[in-house]
Amino acid sequence: MVITFYTSTANPKQANKANFLTQIGTAKTLNPTRALALLTPVVSVEYNANFVRANYCYIGAPFNSYYFCKCAVDVAGKIIVECQADPVYTWYDYLINCPATIIRNENVGINYVVDNQLPIDNARFYIRGEEFQQTPLEPSENAKQYLLILNG
């Protein structure tokens, strides 16, 4: 399998990492000594000092997937690459066309959805008040404001 190493500056939660990847180089993986899991393969390549700082990679066929990776140099001079699948980016082109129920978003908030994560200071509040334009409840001086009801 061919593995392509990248330096990623993307937030791991960034779905589309295309603009955040800098390719370092490619290598052919050595024959595995054990079975490789699709989501968490551990592969080895010949030593290349550039690969040691790689944090992201793409493993070609048959995996054809993107991975977060970390590299280690073993005693035999090989580079051991421990991979963690990034299916969000791997399937990004499919994913963005999927319908979803979105409950939080950076740009769109719906006002009446209660946000219980908001950092509210529940101990403090402030009040603004505004009077109405006029009040009819304002008797003038010596106003006839007393109603006398007599039994007629």
Partner: protein, 803 residues
């Protein structure tokens, strides 16, 4: 060629009383005088033409001048109405009201005017106020007593068509102002003199009306004071307009000095300026009574007729005529002659004379007075019958016109107390800016109760229901109330002779007649009708204004837009609960919570509807046009009335006397008697105790009873208990309180959105959103990934990803 321009004048209904009455609809025809300048100010041409009051001014001192200006397309763009409450201080208030571009495309400009010619419920508005009273005319076509006040000719009549000026010095011919004079006269009556008389009388009375002293808050109705005086011509009677009848008048020839008591109204004023009644000067050769007329009095050293040659001035009826006179001004005689007037750009306007058949003088005069009253009623004016009278609607001498169901005057009127029951007696004074679309069927729109009032459910509707019951209602100020209570408490105090008390109240307590006294946080709407307050059968000599039994009030506090920086709104989700709470303080009611999600971005309006007689209050809270809440409360506070229980006092006194009588009878007969020992000073009588006493004891008891009777005081009776008056002490205006929870000090909404995301709930494709996004769930079908991958994607979406 004069151009006729139709004006439709609508009466309006004041917002506070709008449900009760509407005003007459009238058509006012305006005529271009031919010199009209479409591109400029046609003020002069129109002012002289369409001053609807003309000489004599208007009711309440308000006359209006309509300046018609044309827009570029030659149509009316603006009308203006001036008022001169205190004269000489015109106040323009039509500009804002009737300028309406939406009407530019019509030949008619319509506007609404306030109520009737009088303002009830308190006052004639002082100068500078935005409230005015105007009277427009209720004459409409066939309602005319002459049948000639055609729909299109009615309104100008009768105010300005009889203003005349001396246009031609050579032949002294007086020609009326304006282009429409002749036709108007023709349309008015059969006889020029008859018309003139009526007009003269009418205008005269208007002048008289305003010539009375200006007492604030008093209403001066029109006074029909004109008396027909003397015969003027052989074989045919011509009567000068005069204040008093005078039976020693000379025949009125050209250049003949007029003797007797003669008075005429004169106005010297630039011809292009409409005159108000302030401009009317009464000129008389015998002004002796300055009580009523000093405001406009000018003494005339001589008054003489000016006719055509040496003919009798009335011989040629094709000419009008005038009276010349010398005016006494500041003690000096000043001759006003024609030249002087012309040189100073003045014109002399003279109220015309009239003729009448001398042989039927008395009956004619009465019939003419009846015609005048009829005409006044057609026009919509209240009036009194004699010069020296004034009064309020409801007074016995004041007559008020009757309007029909469509609020068109009928020519009929009601005099006295019944007049206060007329719908138009309830008309208020609020001027409305509302400009309804023209409706030939005259369906007056409901007024706005606030900025967002759409005129639906939030308007109370007068249903024509009158409260039944025998109670009488009075509106009083604190002084009147105090005077009344002092009277009640003192009327039998210290009087051991209970005869009158028994006669008056027959054992009942005078205070029982007081159903209650309630304080309101505003001036109680009342009629101007003053009535003596009776406690049962006893007249108190305290006058108070009678309150209608169907007095419902509608008041609005206005509207507030629940939004904006001033109220601390953020423009985001924090404007809603639980971060923001809305609370409305309602005076006399309390507070009401409002739902921010319902109100933010909308207007909140508060209206109070209250029943004066019961004090019940319905507070309406509206969101825009829709009622959200109705809160029932009480707007009045029952105040305790503490007075002496004169009824018990009377009963006790009577009982003691009877006991005393029994004691005397039995004591004389047997020496053994029964007596009463019940009187307790300062308190109620506890009852009668029977006891057998000796003759000696009898004497003691007899003396004690006499003593007790002399020292017995009526008990204090509290006819009502104090109810909480706390509401009166709170702030008297509605206040919208917006309570915002504070965010943490370092809260940054932008960073919050970027890292946590704003709460939302929406179903979208992920490609439709951007930035940090958290999904409750996503439909990932169609992705050819393994189950583990799908689960991983789902978990990532639920914990949040950046798109």
């Amino acid at each position: 060629m004069a151009t006729k321009i139709n004006q439709t004048i609508y009466g309006t209904v004041p917002s506070t009383q709008y449900s009760k009455a509407v005003c007459p609809k009238t058509i006012l025809n305006l005529y271009n005088d031919g010199n009209f300048d479409p591109s400029g100010d046609c003020k002069n041409g129109f002012e002289k033409s369409i001053s609807p009051w003309g000489i004599g001014g208007g009711m309440c001192g308000d006359w209006f001048t309509i300046n018609a200006q044309r827009s570029a397309n030659g149509r009316f763009a603006r009308l203006r109405m001036d008022t001169t409450e205190n004269f000489n201080k015109p106040v323009s208030f039509w500009n804002k009201s009737i300028v309406s571009s939406s009407y530019d495309n019509k030949n008619s400009t319509r506007f609404r005017v306030a109520g009737n010619c009088y303002k009830l419920n308190n006052n004639i508005v002082s100068n500078g106020s935005t409230e005015y009273q105007l009277t427009l005319f209720g004459i409409n076509g066939s309602n005319s007593p002459y049948g000639k006040l055609e729909y299109n000719n009615a309104c100008v009549y009768p105010f300005n068509i009889f203003i005349t000026r001396n246009e031609n010095a050579a032949n002294n011919k007086l020609t009326p102002l304006g282009e429409y004079t002749v036709s108007q006269i023709d349309n008015f009556g059969d006889d020029w003199f008859e018309d003139s008389f009526e007009m003269a009388a009418f205008e005269w009375n208007l002048a008289m009306y305003r010539s009375a002293s200006n007492v604030p808050n008093q209403f001066y109705p029109i006074t029909i004071s004109t008396a027909i005086t003397k015969s003027l011509k052989m074989g045919e009677m011509y009567k000068a307009l005069a204040l008093e009848d005078n039976t020693n008048r000379d025949t009125f020839y050209d250049n003949a000095i007029i003797s007797g008591f003669n008075t005429c109204g004169v106005c010297a004023y630039p011809h292009y300026v409409s005159v108000s009644n302030d401009d009317i000067k009464l000129v008389s050769n015998k002004f002796t009574d300055t009580t009523h007329y000093n405001y406009t009095k000018y003494g005339a050293g001589k008054m003489y007729g000016v006719g055509n040659g040496n003919k009798h001035i009335f011989d040629d009826v094709s000419y009008h005529y005038e009276i010349r006179f010398f005016v006494e001004l500041n003690g000096n005689y000043v001759e006003i002659n024609e030249n002087e007037i012309i040189l100073s750009s003045q014109r002399l306007y003279i109220l015309p004379y009239y003729k009448i058949d001398d042989t039927t003088y008395s009956s004619k005069w009465e019939s003419i007075k009846a015609i005048i009253r009829h005409e006044l009623a057609y026009i919509g004016f209240p009036f009194v019958m004699n010069a020296n009278q004034w009064g309020f609607i409801g007074d016995s001498n004041v007559s008020v016109p009757i309007f029909d169901a469509h609020m068109i005057t009928t020519g009929n009127y009601v005099t006295g107390a019944a007049a206060s029951q007329l719908p138009n007696a309830q008309w208020g004074d609020i001027f409305s800016d509302t400009m309804p679309e023209y409706d030939p069927d005259y369906n007056p729109p409901k007024p706005s109760s606030g900025e967002s009032d759409g005129g639906f459910l939030n308007n109370s509707t007068y249903r024509g229901v009158k409260l039944a019951g025998s109670n009488e209602f009075y509106a009083m100020d604190v002084s009147e109330l105090r005077t009344l209570m002092t009277f009640i408490n003192g009327m039998y105090q210290g009087n051991t002779d209970d005869t009158q008390l028994k006669i008056d109240f027959k054992g009942s307590n005078p205070n029982d007649y007081i159903v209650g006294v309630f304080a309101y946080p505003f001036n109680i709407p009342n009629t101007p009708h003053l009535s003596n307050v009776y406690i049962g059968p006893v007249e108190t000599n305290v006058n108070a204004n009678v309150v209608d039994k169907d007095t419902f009030g509608f008041s609005t506090f206005g509207s507030i837009l629940v939004d904006g920086d001033a109220l601390g709104f953020h423009g985001d989700f924090r404007d809603y609960e639980p971060y923001t709470q809305l609370e409305l303080y309602l005076p006399m009611v309390g507070t009401a919570k409002l739902d921010p999600s319902y109100y933010v971005g909308h207007y909140v309006t508060v209206n109070y509807i209250y029943d004066i007689n019961t004090g019940s209050l319905s507070a309406q809270i509206l969101r825009d046009d829709t009622i959200d809440k109705i809160i029932e409360s009480t707007i009045s506070v029952q105040i305790p009335v503490t007075a002496r229980d004169m009824g018990s006092y009377q009963n006790n006194l009577y009982q003691m006397k009877m006991n005393l009588l029994n004691t005397a009878v039995h004591g004389a007969a047997s020496g053994i008697t029964q007596t009463a020992t019940a009187a307790t000073k300062g308190t109620d009588i506890n009852g009668v105790t029977n006891a057998a006493v000796s003759g000696f004891e009898y004497g003691q008891q007899f003396g004690k009873t006499i003593y007790d009777m002399k020292h017995m005081q009526p008990a204090i009776a509290q006819t009502s208990t104090a109810s909480p008056a706390n509401g009166m002490q709170f702030y008297n205006n509605c206040v919208l309180f917006v309570k915002h929870l504070k965010m943490l000090d370092d809260f940054d909404p932008e960073k919050y959105g970027k890292t946590v995301g704003y709460a939302c709930l929406m179903n979208k494709q992920l490609s439709d959103v951007s930035g940090f996004t958290v999904c409750a769930n996503a439909d990932l079908s169609g992705i050819p990934a393994t189950a583990d991958e799908i689960n991983a994607i789902q978990a990532a979406l639920q914990s949040g990803i950046y798109l």
